[in-house]
């Protein structure tokens, strides 16, 4: 082999450099081959349709969690396997949600996260159950999601029943502490499962804290005018308005009550779809003193504050969909670490036995009973001076509650 120097010959230095490069290139596939295969997570949210904003927020939170896990080195128990998001749009349609489950199953998902709307979640979890694929509900209020005996379904956040019980206890406590100025309530709710279910549960429990449910007023989605509802509430002379509706109707109802000068001791919602930073910052006068019992992050958690900043740096708002979806993915990541496998049965078992503590939430350690986490709880929030403050539970409170609201 010639190694002579010359115009068309190869110098020793160039030969060494070249051979090193070739050897490196040949070795690359071996290194790449040694890298663990990515674990696919199917994210099914309604990113188009009438609840598109909520769906997009859910997707944002889940994708941020996946990025965070990957940047931290992936799933260590799986040799640093990365998480890979498969994005699905349910379009708010049950059949499309199921179709996404089928499609993602063929793409080899290890677990699903979704679906925001309970009807879509009910059908999608059933479809996933056929394959034994774990399905973590990020948002979905209906208790039917976790009461059908499907062993593959998990919900980290508290359900209807727990939220309503906690909200009622807080409202009773606030009213009692103020000398019981409120005696009666009107409930305004959207006519779907979420609004109807919440309103009926609330109405049944109000007498236990000395409040009378004067009337339940249902409205459609979408509703463009609440003038008549406001006038009816004024005529009923209710002390508290309780509302259970989605974003647009929530905001419109609150605005209409203010415009129509309906003076009440409190506007209180449970899982109020519109009680978020967008509403409170864009319409601080309307939102001021409104109370909501909802899924909320722990304001004292530095990790939660860092995540909030990261979301806001992206131009987004730190709404409940974001951190609930974020937690759903983190729960799966933790289960993957403990299972040491992306095998569906092992992952399901690891999820069922989870004791993971979602640091950014006011939750204790996870404990699933029939797929429902018993360690989760909501927080009672109040809009104060253009911001959202946690007023209950006391351990996580960032401000004192104002009840009853000052007369306009």
């Amino acid at each position: 082999m010639s190694m002579q120097t010359g115009r068309n010959s190869i110098s020793r230095r160039r030969f060494l450099a070249g051979s090193t490069a070739v050897a490196g290139a040949l070795a690359m596939p071996r290194i790449a081959g040694a890298q663990a295969a990515a674990v696919r997570i199917g994210l099914i949210h309604p990113v188009s349709g009438f609840v598109a904003y909520n769906g997009q927020q859910g997707r944002l939170g889940a994708v941020m969690a996946i990025d965070e896990v990957n940047q931290a080195g992936g799933i260590r128990a799986l040799g640093g396997a990365k998480l890979e998001a498969l994005l699905g749009d349910s379009q708010s349609k049950v059949e499309v949600g199921v179709s996404e489950v089928e499609k993602m199953n063929e793409a080899g998902v290890a677990a699903y996260v979704g679906c925001f709307q309970s009807p879509v979640g009910i059908a999608a979890t059933q479809a996933a159950a056929k394959y034994g694929t774990p399905f973590v509900i990020d948002v979905g209020a209906s208790d039917a999601l976790v009461s059908r005996g499907l062993t593959n379904v998990f919900r980290l956040k508290p359900g209807f029943g727990r939220c309503v019980d906690d909200a009622i206890a807080t409202l009773g406590e606030l009213n009692k502490a103020a000398g019981s100025p409120a005696k009666s309530v009107v409930l305004v709710h959207e006519s779907g499962e979420f609004g109807t279910g919440t309103a009926k549960l609330l109405a049944g429990k109000l007498p236990s804290i000395g409040l009378e449910a004067k009337e339940l007023i249902a409205h459609d989605n979408p509703t463009r005018n609440f003038d008549n509802v406001a006038l009816k509430i004024r005529a009923l002379r209710a002390d508290i308005v309780m509302m259970s509706n989605y974003q647009n109707e929530y905001v419109l109802l609150a605005k209409t009550l203010l415009q129509q000068k309906v003076n009440v001791a409190a506007m209180f919602s449970v899982l109020g779809g519109g009680f978020n930073y967008k509403f409170v910052r864009e319409q601080p006068d309307v939102a001021e003193f409104m109370l909501d019992h909802n899924h909320w992050f722990n304001p004292k958690s530095t990790k939660a504050q860092a995540l909030k900043k990261a979301v806001e740096a992206k131009g987004g708002l730190f709404t409940f969909e974001v951190y609930l979806a974020y937690n759903a993915v983190m729960l799966i990541a933790d289960a993957l670490e403990r299972a040491g496998s992306a095998d569906k049965a092992k992952l399901t078992a690891a999820l069922a036995a989870s004791t993971w503590t979602p640091e950014i939430m006011p939750y204790g350690p996870t404990r699933f009973v029939n797929g429902q986490n018993q360690g989760g709880q909501g927080a009672t929030l109040q809009a104060l001076k253009g911001d959202i403050e946690v007023v209950r539970p006391e351990a996580f409170a960032s401000a004192a509650a104002v009840f009853p609201r000052p007369k306009a």
Binding site: A52, G88, V94, E106, R148, A218
Partner: protein, 321 residues
């Protein structure tokens, strides 16, 4: 190829299609997703055919056909969940209820001479009324909806393997095609065509216009109601928005119009196009709704430039050839 041979080929293809994708012995590749898409297309075709029987063959343009769909879904579901009636019998009851409701709506509207846009609006009003009622009355559980217990046995009209829902949808679709074909050959169908083209002339010829229209709406209502039960048993949950939501009425109407209203194969062709388009554009969902925009634009283009639907386009091409 004759129409009969084309139909036989189409039926054979539909029968074979899921075998390409089903189970470990799949002829092509195992894919429940492909079977699911096929099922959705056949189901949409059947619902579109139910609209076509009234809107296409008799000119009874309805904007609220979901009225019958929802009635069927609620009827079998309430009978099953509330009273323990086997869903197979519930399906028969639901179909009968759909026919009865079709006859009742027809009797109420046609007797007083409502037609055209007035009939379209009254059907929309009926559907909305039923949606509000379903939200309000106790036996439908209002907005909470009704969850059908999971019991994946054929005896409970539930199946573990998607192929059986596919074949059930195929059976529905084939029965819809048979009904449409019968309308092109029967005296009843001729009456309907006469009514559609000129109602006054039909009456002058001695046709009992109200009676024939009522019969037609009853037939169409029965079909849509049967579709409602199929949906409920497949997805195991219904609520007022799912059962009586206006978007499903629009879907039924669009499928028939895109394929070709008043033709036997129009709804099938339209459903194939709509479902394929929907699945293709959904692949663009990363663009947040771009898929839906594209889908909408294509629908506008088809409806705007192909007044006789895709079947009309094929016929024109054949004439030119």
């Amino acid at each position: 190829m004759s129409a009969r041979a084309a139909t036989a080929a189409l039926l054979a293809a539909a029968l074979v299609y899921p075998l390409l994708f089903f189970g470990d012995g799949a002829w092509l590749v195992r894919s429940n997703y492909a079977i699911d898409v096929g099922m959705l297309a056949l189901f949409a075709a059947f619902l579109g055919q139910s609209w076509n029987v009234a809107g296409g063959f008799a000119g009874l343009t309805s904007f609220g056909h979901v009225l019958f769909f929802g009635t069927g879904a609620y009827c079998s579901t309430i009978l099953h969940v509330g009273h323990g009636v086997n869903p197979w019998f519930g399906w028969v009851a639901a179909t009968t209820a759909g026919a009865a409701l079709g006859a009742a709506v027809g009797h109420l509207t046609f007797r007083v001479g409502l037609r055209g846009s007035y009939f379209a609006l009254i059907t929309l009003a009926f559907a909305e009324t039923f949606r509000v009622l379903a939200n309000s009355v106790g036996f439908t559980r209002g907005g909470l909806g009704i969850l059908i217990p999971l019991d994946q046995r054929a005896a409970a009209l539930q199946f573990h393997d998607p192929i059986w829902f596919y074949y059930l949808a195929l059976a529905l679709c084939a029965s819809g095609l048979a009904i449409a074909w019968w309308l092109t050959r029967s005296r009843f169908g001729t009456y309907l065509a006469a009514i559609r083209e000129n109602e006054d002339a039909a009456r002058a010829l001695g046709i009992d216009v109200v009676r024939q229209k009522v019969r037609c709406l009853a037939l169409s209502g029965a079909m849509a109601a049967a579709g409602g039960t199929f949906y409920a048993q497949k997805y195991l949950y219904i609520d007022p928005s799912i059962a009586f939501g206006v978007d499903r009425s629009v879907e039924m109407l669009l499928v028939a119009m895109i394929g070709g209203a008043g033709t036997v194969f129009g709804p099938l062709v339209g459903a194939g196009a709509v479902v394929a388009l929907g699945e293709a554009t959904r692949a663009l969902s990363d663009a947040r709704g771009l898929g839906l925009i594209l889908y909408g634009l294509l629908l506008v283009a088809i409806v705007g430039f192909l007044p006789n639907g895709l079947v009309g386009l094929v016929r024109a091409a054949r004439r030119d050839a």
